[in-house]
Amino acid sequence: MSSKNSIAITGSGAVCGAGLGIDAIWQNILAGKSAVGPIEQWDARRWPVKISAEVRNVENRQLVEDRKLHKMISRTDMLGLCAAHQAVQQSGLLAHRDTLDDAGKTRFNDRTGIFAGSGGGNYRSNYDFYPALTASAGSLPKFGGEFSQSVNPMWLLKNLPNNVLCHVGIRYNFKGTNACVTNQCVGGVMALAEAAAALRNDEADRASVTAHDTPFEPETVAGYHRLGLLSSEALRPFDRDRSGTVFGEGAASVMLEKNSAATGRNAAILGEFLGSGCVTEATGILDLRPDGDGVSRAIELALADAGLAAADVGMIVAHGNGTRASDASEAAGIARVFGKNIPPVTGFKWAVGHLIAASGALDTVLALRALREKVVPGIAMLNAVDPACAALPVSNQSQTPRSDVALILCRGFGGMNVALLVRA
């Protein structure tokens, strides 16, 4: 039974430190295995933070088959294209397009949207300029004559924040409405919400949505560490002894379709997008409100958008990034909406790390899996619940969802709060 405004989800995909593909990631989470381990991308022996949830032991060819592309895009794009391909393949839409006549194919392509949530600019890309900066030793006129000797002529295009959008378009010949959201942590979930809105508004019949990020690099680790946001030990959401977040990297993707289009081609429907809410607390870059104002307002907007009541929600995938301030205020915001009737709550960052722009999208594909399996996985890193989060029914053991609806919460810099509702 689909609600009036719901959108079908007919494909999903993911890659992160916990695995290549949703099956692998899910099995690791159920088994209580965390992908957090020693930093391998550089020698971090002297670093105050030595852990991350890296994508390890995966060859570039496993991410993107086309070798020519490897030099034209960056690692975050590779991860995004890998997840996107999984979702496109699972949807069966390319085979469906093959059955159409030429006019039908053209219409299909023009009516297929492309949405991306991207980490945006990174620090890594600047390193390409270091040889020229070093050679010119602080002299700008010298640098002006130097950079073309050592920097790839395609540097700018390799580092476009919207590269995944472009390459998904080119690879599958999708040409419809599109957006690339670069809103730090909430970029991915906002891309998903905008894609669903475009389908509701009849701007497209289907849309590929991909969120991807590789926040894990020396300058972000150093910067976050100085701000006191990183744990050097483990990511323990809602735990009394939590000490910060841990970076991961990866991507998640879904294929959205109008319900009528999906049922019309007898597609297997993995779940439905029901609604979203997005607000900012207007608290500046880092700060957030201790009372969880943004969390509760985002949830209320999402419920209204979906035409649901709080009691309809069967489980919550919390942002749970493991920082003192975010987890406590998130608990307060959830409690304000749900009162004493909070459904089972979990979070996945303890296992996959914090994927920043891709975090909420990965949570969404995992929430769909949880609903289908009727299991709310436990938070294996949870030892003792913080009194500030005591209202939350969180556990290190599996729980059972109380309905087929999941609420996904995603929070980010800029006081951003986004809530999504899905059904499976």
């Binding site: 392509n109 070093t134 002006g144 002529p153 080119i170 670069t182 810099f413």
Partner: protein
Amino acid sequence: MKQKRRIAITGIGMVTPVGNDAPTTWAALRAGKSGLGKIQHFDASGFPVRIGAEVKNFQLPAAIANSKHAKFASRSHRFALAAAEEALTDAGIRPQADNSARWGLSVGAGMMAMDYTEIEMTSRFCSNTDGADGEFQPDGLLDPKYPADPVAFCRSQTNAGLALLAQQFGIRGYATAVHTACASGGQAVGTALKVMRRGHVDFMLAGGFDSMLNPIGLSSFCLLGALCPDNDTPEKASRPFDATRAGFVLGEGAGFLVLEDWDAAKKRGAKIYAELAGDGNSCSSYRITDSPPNGDGPIQAIQQAIADAGARPEDIDYVNAHGTSTLMNDKSECAALRGVFGADVQRVAVSSTKSCMGHLIAAAGAVEAGVCALAIRDGIAPVSANCDELDPDCAVNVVRGQSRPLKIRAALSNSLGFGGSNSSLVFRHPDEVKA
């Protein structure tokens, strides 16, 4: 079919290479005054391209300069704060405690988040100097002498500009930052229109801001060969549609609009520049570097925007083209205009205001949206400067020589980005809005 919610443009703010506010910018564009020149704010003398379109003599408005958030603002964030402040003042309305959650914010933000001085400073600590190859050495960041600056780190976060704007003006509703290269500003304004129509908010501050006029940004466009190298004649360097055009001129700045529900704006007696009537979006999915020569991609975006506005091509009197002055863009865009308007294409006045103010990258579409609204208000199609010898491939009705008085019933603005994202917006004259 249910009438879509009508959205009014009631405030405009700009910081551009031809003026530090909207009235000055608009007067310069009408007069065809160039904002292009030798790059002044860093020493570009050794670069292959030494010209740009800089914002000049800029100062933050007092209301913002005194705010404690200002220290977090980068160069382009400062342009954004000033342009947004102007737009809100111009609209005569701003978020209040009782309606701040009904205000939204949509921005097109540039891709370069880190200031050049930070990059250069970090490179000094983190470049391998054994053999002077300049390879990145992470441990340099741990050097006790490394002047780590948490404020600079915060400033370099992707959504720092969005965060500062929301905080400065107390906007607590929907907030988004988008980036589709040169289409970003147009997409941000289009997103704002859609969010308002969905009813998530009643007011929106929408715009874009960017500055890639720094040694790294300038290098990156030089490497691509996208910039016009006419270092000795900067004011003639940007010549969209001209047969001798040779690339774009890199600019910087910000543009913001205040958007309101049409009926609410009428009720409070607001001055309405124009209706923000339609948004269209497509992806060319052709090549990362090139535009499709036949206009495929932009055609769909333009058609969608016109349809979304409930209009027909014959209603459009003026097009503010993307018109970057690169060989490929202008050819592709003109092919798209011919594709959409057909035999009627010579009726439609076309100009590229980038001829005077350069290419503002992620801010371009937002500033040009404001230009369309002002063109409608004043009944003037601004000049497309420097088009002395019209390229036969660009045989459309270019506003050459000087600005042209023109009753504009509806205007179209195009923003076509690297990577193939195309954004088109349609604006309608208030007199043409049927109750």
